[in-house]
């Protein structure tokens, strides 16, 4: 039996990734938090915690609550700010041999542009991901991400100041996510990543108070995966730029769903908290899947959804 060495590398425009598995912003810190547990260089890339122009303390606790097959968070975009990021975190990130994508956000269009300008010419930053979709802070992005016009304006402002590929991360908390996707594509976005968390809440029944100090939070984890997959499916059909799928991916099988739907790469989020080495397991799983089926390149899987349901059944793996 011949065995082929399947190629997992993918391209997001000119951004080359050694495999399609990235870690999602806010779930992997600045990367170094996981460095004693996993070999980060094996990842397709990491997306670091969202950076703002100035440091931000974040919301008062409690900031998270577990829900069925998921969790709500209201961290409030706590981060060390651009200057400290460049001084304290970037040198280590520059030593990595994997893609480093910096997630940015601002309170105003000007602040988004200023953060992008601060990253201009900085070596070791492969791309910028704009967060126009955080549900947990007032003006923390979602106000920009729920309107096609302001989404486009933020995208344009960042593109003007940036010398790097710009990915726009979309909010699912909208009526029609395709309208936002089309708008940021027209504005010149390099790629789209989706979805950010879904706004939700939980109540302590005994005390009759919200379980989060922020009252609402963003729902993530396997509970949201079908919703995320559907939105990725819709957006892939609506735009020509590459799409990165995010939302409740826990294993390689979940990742394959997004790739088949047309995502060129995926981001692993909440699963990093549950199993710190899950992204490496996903990479191995994708490799094994391709090799077992003699698939030469992961590219041969991306966007191969056949919309005619197999009358023979839905397969055996459902988790």
């Amino acid at each position: 039996m011949t065995s082929i060495n399947s190629d997992l590398s993918v391209k997001i425009g000119t951004l080359e990734l050694k495999n399609p598995v990235l870690t999602a912003s806010g779930t992997f810190g600045y990367g170094s938090e996981f460095s004693s547990l996993i070999d980060i260089n094996k990842l397709g890339g990491i997306v670091v915690k969202g950076i703002s122009l100035r440091p931000r303390a974040g919301n008062p606790p409690p900031r998270i609550v577990e829900t069925h097959c998921g969790m709500l968070n209201a961290i409030g975009l706590a981060n060390i700010g651009l200057e400290n990021f460049l001084k304290e975190k970037l040198p280590w990130l520059q030593s990595l041999s994997t893609a480093v994508i910096v997630n940015i956000y601002g309170h105003s269009i000007e602040e988004y542009a200023a953060v992008a300008a601060g990253l201009k010419g900085v070596e070791g930053v492969s791309a910028i991901e704009i967060n126009i979709s955080c549900p947990n802070v007032e003006c923390g992005g979602m106000v920009f991400g729920t309107d096609p016009k302001t989404s486009a304006r933020v995208t344009e402002a960042v593109l003007k100041e940036s010398d790097k590929p710009v990915i726009v991360k979309l909010s699912p908390n909208v009526t029609d996510i395709r309208a936002i996707a089309i708008s940021v594509e027209k504005a010149g976005a390099y790629a789209i990543s989706l979805i950010n968390t879904l706004t939700g809440m939980a109540i302590d029944v005994e005390k009759r108070v919200p379980k989060l100090a922020n009252i609402t939070g963003g729902l993530s984890g396997p509970a949201i995966r079908p919703v995320a997959l559907y939105m990725v499916y819709q957006v892939v059909k609506a735009v020509k730029i590459p799409v990165i799928g995010i939302g409740g991916i826990m294993n390689y099988w979940d990742a394959l769903e997004f790739l088949i739907a047309g995502a060129r790469a995926i981001q692993v989020g909440t699963a990093n908290f549950v199993e710190p080495d899950v992204s490496l397991d996903i990479i191995e799983g994708l490799k094994r899947f391709c090799m077992d089926r003699e698939i030469i390149s992961i590219d041969d899987i991306i966007g191969t959804l056949n919309e005619k349901v197999d009358p023979g059944g839905q397969g055996t793996r459902t988790n």
Binding site: P62, R63, E66, C69, A78, V274
Partner: protein, 262 residues
């Protein structure tokens, strides 16, 4: 720090609603310091989704570490049904532990309920002649026999809310009466328990100038410093506004916490 599958050696009830579990891991057992914790997956399932943090309660025979836990919800209920020989995924040891006190000065270990877990581990590192152990519970049936965790403490003082054992009232009453009796003797306090109890202990010790370290509990998703959910407000008016219990703690000098925010 390591992530591995650890075998459950025993999992037994030691008091009403309270269990002691021993897990095999040479790496965690040999590296653990009192006050540190592990993140444990109660089963291979997405519901419940997240790992649970547990203080390390002690170590045995080089390669076994202990956790003491109370049934408080779904996660701990599932854990209480886990049988010997089951393998559970554990990450640890995590966080910063207690500063082990030097001999010659009294150490007061003050526990509230299940907060006794890290203090049992700490007590092993302190000379018995220097040690006073104060433990508060709701009622007699919740009282944990320290010998079941392999610890013999000559000076142990108990308080129960209902007076079914020891002093009727709060464990903080025991601290206050100790301070009245001891005069100017120097001592250190190490405490773990409910936040309102720690708040009271912090107020008493800060007021008297006694050194005090507290171990805090917080909801957390990762335990690694990445999710930033386990925030607790710092008393410092400059620099970091929030500490993260998992990485900056769980043990903190009492004076470094902004108790007004709690």
């Amino acid at each position: 720090m390591i992530e591995q599958e650890s075998e459950v050696i025993f999992n037994k009830k030691v008091a009403d609603g309270t269990f002691l579990m021993g897990l095999r891991s040479y790496e965690i057992s040999s590296g653990a310091k009192p006050g540190q914790f592990v993140m444990l997956r109660v089963r291979q399932s997405f519901d419940p989704l997240l790992r649970r943090p547990f203080s390390i309660c002690g170590t045995r025979e080089d390669d076994i570490f202990l956790i003491l836990y109370r049934l408080v919800g779904r996660g701990t209920t599932i854990l209480s049904h886990v049988g010997e020989g089951t393998k559970l995924s554990v990450t640890g040891p995590l966080g910063k532990g207690f500063d082990i006190p030097k001999p010659g000065r009294k150490s007061l270990l003050i526990a509230g309920g299940i907060g006794i877990a890290p203090l049992i581990f700490l007590a092993r590192k302190i000379k018995m002649i220097d040690l006073i152990f104060m433990a508060g519970y709701g009622s007699l049936k919740e009282v944990i026999d320290l010998e079941s965790a392999g610890l013999k403490v000559p000076d142990i003082r108990i308080a129960t809310d209902d007076g079914t054992l020891g002093h009727k009232g709060l464990v903080t009453d025991l601290l206050e009466s100790y301070m009245t009796m001891s005069g100017n003797e120097m001592f250190k306090v190490f405490s773990c328990g409910p936040l309102h109890m720690l708040k009271r202990i912090a107020a008493i010790t800060i007021n008297s100038g006694a050194e005090c370290q507290v171990s805090l509990e917080a909801s957390m998703a990762c335990g690694l410093g990445a999710c930033q959910s386990c925030a607790v407000k710092s008393s410092s008016d400059q620099g970091m506004v929030y500490y993260h219990v998992c990485r900056d703690g769980p043990v903190f000098p009492a004076k470094s916490i902004d108790w007004k925010s709690i």
